[in-house]
C-alpha cells in the first residue's frame, strides 16, 4: 500500500508541477521537430526551435529527416511532432488520408510564398537577347539558337532534371509535349544536383544564356536572380499531369503541353502535438509565413557564409524582426528578442 501511495503522491506532485509550469509556459513540454536535409527546411526548423523554446517554453529536439522518411514516421509512429516544410506533391494521397483519419493536422498551408518548380532563365540570357524579356516559355521555344548547346551548336540546350529525380520524367514528357526536339532542342541531363547547380552558376557567372528546370525557394534563385518563366499555356489538368506528365514515356505516349503543377508545401503537425501545444502554438504555426524574397535572401546568406541552420535562424530573427513579430503575440516576441 505504501508504494501505491507514493506513486499517487508523486503523480499528484508531477501533475501539479506540470499545471504550474503550464501557467508559466502554456504546457508545451517536449516537442520533436524534423529538420530536413535542405537549407530552407533546416532554417525553418531552427527558427521554430528558437521561437518555441524561448517564446513558448517548449523543450525542442531537432531530428534529421527527408521528405518521405519523415512523413512516413509521422504518419505511422506519430513522431516527430512537426515537419515545418512538407512538400505535399510527393505524399499527396497518404497525407489526405492521414488528415481525414485524424492522425495529422495541416497547420499551415503555405509557410513560404512564391515557391514552386518550373522553367527558369539566367539574367544573362536577357542581357544577350533583350527580346526574351516578357516572353513565355512557348515563345522562347521557337528560338533554340539563343541557347546554343556546347556539344552541337546547331541545337539549343534545355537543362532538365538530374537522372533519377521525379522531375526528370516530368521534364522529359514536357520536352515531348512541346515538341522541342523538332524545334531544335536537346534535353541535357545534368546528372546530379551538383551538376544542375554547377551549370547554372557557370552560366550566370559568365553571363551566358541558360534555360532549364529549377525550383524555389533556393539560394541559387536568390543569388543569381533567376527569372521564372510563364509557360504560356495553362495547367492542362490533373489527369494529364498525374497520368501522363509524371510517368515514363512508354506509359504515356501523348502528353499535352501544360504549365507546371502548383507545388503545395505545408507545415504538418501530429494531432497529439496540436492538442499538447495548445491554441497559441497552433496559431503561431498557422501565421508563420516566410515571404519568398526573404527566404531566398536567407538561403543566399547560408550559401555565401556556408552557414548552418542554427546560425541562419539567429541571423533571420535579428535581421527580419518585421517578418516574424507578426507571427506571435507581443509578449512572446519580447521573450524571443530577449533570448537572442
Amino acid at each position: 500500500m505504501n508504494t501505491f501511495k507514493k506513486i499517487i503522491l508523486s503523480a499528484v506532485i508531477a501533475l501539479g508541477s506540470a499545471a504550474f509550469g503550464g501557467i508559466a509556459n502554456a504546457a508545451c513540454g517536449k516537442v520533436v521537430v524534423a529538420s530536413q536535409n535542405w537549407a530552407s527546411a533546416e532554417l525553418m526548423a531552427e527558427v521554430d526551435k528558437f521561437i518555441l523554446e524561448k517564446g513558448y517554453g517548449c523543450e525542442v529536439e531537432l531530428i534529421p529527416g527527408a521528405t518521405m522518411p519523415t512523413f512516413t514516421s509521422m504518419d505511422e509512429k506519430g513522431a516527430p511532432d512537426m515537419n515545418p516544410e512538407q512538400w505535399a506533391n510527393a505524399v499527396y494521397v497518404p497525407l489526405i488520408k492521414a488528415v481525414e483519419e485524424g492522425r495529422l493536422v495541416i497547420a499551415n498551408k503555405a509557410p513560404i510564398t512564391g515557391l514552386g518548380e518550373g522553367w527558369w532563365l539566367t539574367p544573362g540570357s536577357i542581357e544577350k537577347h533583350p527580346e526574351l524579356k516578357g516572353m513565355t516559355a512557348v515563345e522562347i521555344l521557337e528560338h533554340p539558337e539563343w541557347f546554343p548547346y556546347k556539344e552541337d551548336s546547331s541545337k539549343g540546350a534545355f537543362v532538365g532534371c538530374p537522372a533519377g529525380w521525379g522531375c526528370q520524367l516530368a521534364n522529359a514528357q514536357l520536352f515531348r509535349a512541346f515538341e522541342m526536339e523538332k524545334k531544335g532542342w536537346v534535353l541535357v541531363d545534368p546528372g546530379s544536383a551538383a551538376g544542375l547547380d554547377g551549370s547554372i552558376s557557370k552560366a550566370a557567372e559568365s553571363g551566358n544564356p541558360w534555360l532549364g528546370y529549377y525550383w524555389n525557394p533556393t539560394s541559387i534563385v536568390g543569388k543569381y536572380g533567376l527569372i521564372q518563366l510563364d509557360f504560356g499555356v495553362p495547367f492542362a489538368g490533373r489527369e494529364n499531369w498525374d497520368k501522363c506528365i509524371t510517368v515514363a514515356e512508354q506509359d504515356c505516349a501523348d502528353p499535352k503541353p501544360s504549365a507546371w503543377t502548383e507545388s503545395e508545401v505545408n507545415t504538418i503537425i501530429t494531432t497529439k502535438f496540436a492538442k499538447q501545444g495548445g491554441k497559441d502554438i497552433v496559431k503561431y504555426i498557422g501565421d508563420r509565413t516566410y515571404p519568398g524574397i526573404v527566404m531566398n535572401g536567407m538561403l543566399v546568406y547560408m550559401a555565401d557564409n556556408q552557414a548552418g541552420g542554427s546560425d541562419a535562424a539567429i541571423e533571420f530573427l535579428s535581421k527580419h524582426e518585421d517578418v516574424w513579430t507578426k507571427w506571435v503575440s507581443s509578449g512572446v516576441a519580447k521573450k524571443v528578442k530577449a533570448g537572442l
Partner: protein, 295 residues
C-alpha cells in the same frame, strides 16, 4: 586546463572568412579564365563528340566487327574475340547500345589523353630524381582525394558536360600510367644500359630504342590500370552530365531500380573485362616476343 581538453580551434569568424575567401578567389579565377580554359579544351570536345557520333551512327555489325578485329590483334585468342562480340551483342540486345557507345567513346578518349600526358611525365620522372620527388606526392593526392571534392572546382570552371567529365576521369585514371612508366624505365637492366652506352647511343636513342621497349610490358600494365580506373569513374562522371552507362545507374540508385542498376553495372563489368583481357594479352605478347629474342 582548458587548453588540454579543448582543442585550440581557429576563431569561427576567421575560419568562415578564410573559407569564403578561398571560394571567392576561385570564383573570380573562373570568371576571368573560365571561357578561355573552356576554349582550350574545345578540340578535345570536338574529338569526343565526333567519336561518339561515329560510334553511334555506324551500323552495329561494323562496330562489333571492328571490336572483334581489335580483340584479335590484341590477344590472338579466339575465346576473347567471340566473348567480346557476344558481350557487345548482349549489351545491345538489352537496350544499352547507345549508352555503351557513349561510355566506350569517353573511355577511349580518356585513355588516349592519359597516355599522351602520362608517358612523357613518367619518362621525366625516371630521368630526374627531383621530378620524381615532386610528382609522386601529387599522384598520391590524385588517387586518394575523394572525387566529389574536385568535381566542385571543375564544375565552376567548365560547367557540365563531356569535357569536365573527361577531366574528372583523367585526374583519377592517369596516375597508374605515370607511376608504371617511371617504374618500368627505372627497372631496365643496368648492364643493358652500359652496353648501349658503350655503343655510343645518344640519350634519345637510349630512351626510344632500349628503355621504352624494355619497359613496355610494365607501361602496358599501367595502360591497363588506367582503363580500369577510368571505367570505375564512369558513374561519377555521369554526375556532371556525361552520357553513358553511368546515367541509368544514377537513376537506379535514386529510385531503387535493382534490375536497371544491375544490368548497366554488368555492362560496365563486361567492358572492363574485355578491355582488361585484351590489353593484358597484348602486354604479355610484347613480353613473349622479347623473351623469344633474348633466348
Amino acid at each position: 586546463m582548458e587548453f588540454f581538453t579543448k582543442f585550440p580551434v581557429m576563431e569561427r569568424i576567421a575560419l568562415m572568412e578564410m573559407k569564403k575567401g578561398i571560394d571567392l578567389s576561385f570564383r573570380q579565377f573562373s570568371r576571368e579564365y573560365g571561357n578561355g580554359i573552356e576554349a582550350f579544351f574545345d578540340p578535345l570536345l570536338f574529338f569526343l563528340v565526333w567519336l561518339e557520333k561515329l560510334l553511334l551512327n555506324s551500323p552495329w555489325p561494323i562496330i562489333i566487327l571492328v571490336i572483334a578485329i581489335l580483340a584479335w590483334f590484341g590477344s590472338r585468342s579466339w575465346v576473347l574475340v567471340v566473348g567480346s562480340a557476344l558481350a557487345f551483342m548482349l549489351i545491345g540486345y538489352f537496350g544499352m547500345w547507345n549508352d555503351c557507345m557513349a561510355t566506350v567513346a569517353i573511355i577511349t578518349v580518356c585513355t588516349t589523353l592519359c597516355i599522351a600526358v602520362g608517358i612523357p611525365l613518367g619518362v621525366l620522372m625516371s630521368k630526374s630524381d627531383r621530378a620524381e620527388k615532386t610528382i609522386l606526392p601529387v599522384l598520391d593526392m590524385m588517387q586518394t582525394i575523394p572525387s566529389f571534392v574536385y568535381l566542385v572546382p571543375i564544375l565552376m570552371l567548365l560547367g557540365i558536360g563531356k569535357v569536365p567529365g573527361l577531366i574528372a576521369v583523367c585526374i583519377y585514371a592517369v596516375p597508374p600510367i605515370i607511376r608504371l612508366t617511371n617504374l618500368g624505365i627505372r627497372e631496365v637492366d643496368k648492364e643493358t644500359l652500359e652496353a648501349i652506352d658503350a655503343f655510343g647511343a645518344t640519350t634519345w636513342q637510349r630512351l626510344t630504342k632500349v628503355q621504352i621497349p624494355l619497359a613496355l610490358p610494365t607501361i602496358f600494365a599501367g595502360v591497363n590500370q588506367t582503363i580500369m580506373m577510368a571505367l570505375a569513374m564512369v558513374v561519377i562522371a555521369s554526375m556532371i552530365g556525361v552520357k553513358g552507362l553511368g546515367v541509368p545507374i544514377l537513376r537506379a540508385i535514386s529510385n531503387q531500380y535493382l534490375a536497371l542498376g544491375l544490368m548497366n553495372g554488368l555492362a560496365i563489368v563486361a567492358l572492363a573485362i574485355i578491355f582488361d583481357r585484351v590489353s593484358q594479352h597484348y602486354g604479355k605478347r610484347i613480353q613473349k616476343h622479347r623473351e623469344g629474342r633474348n633466348l
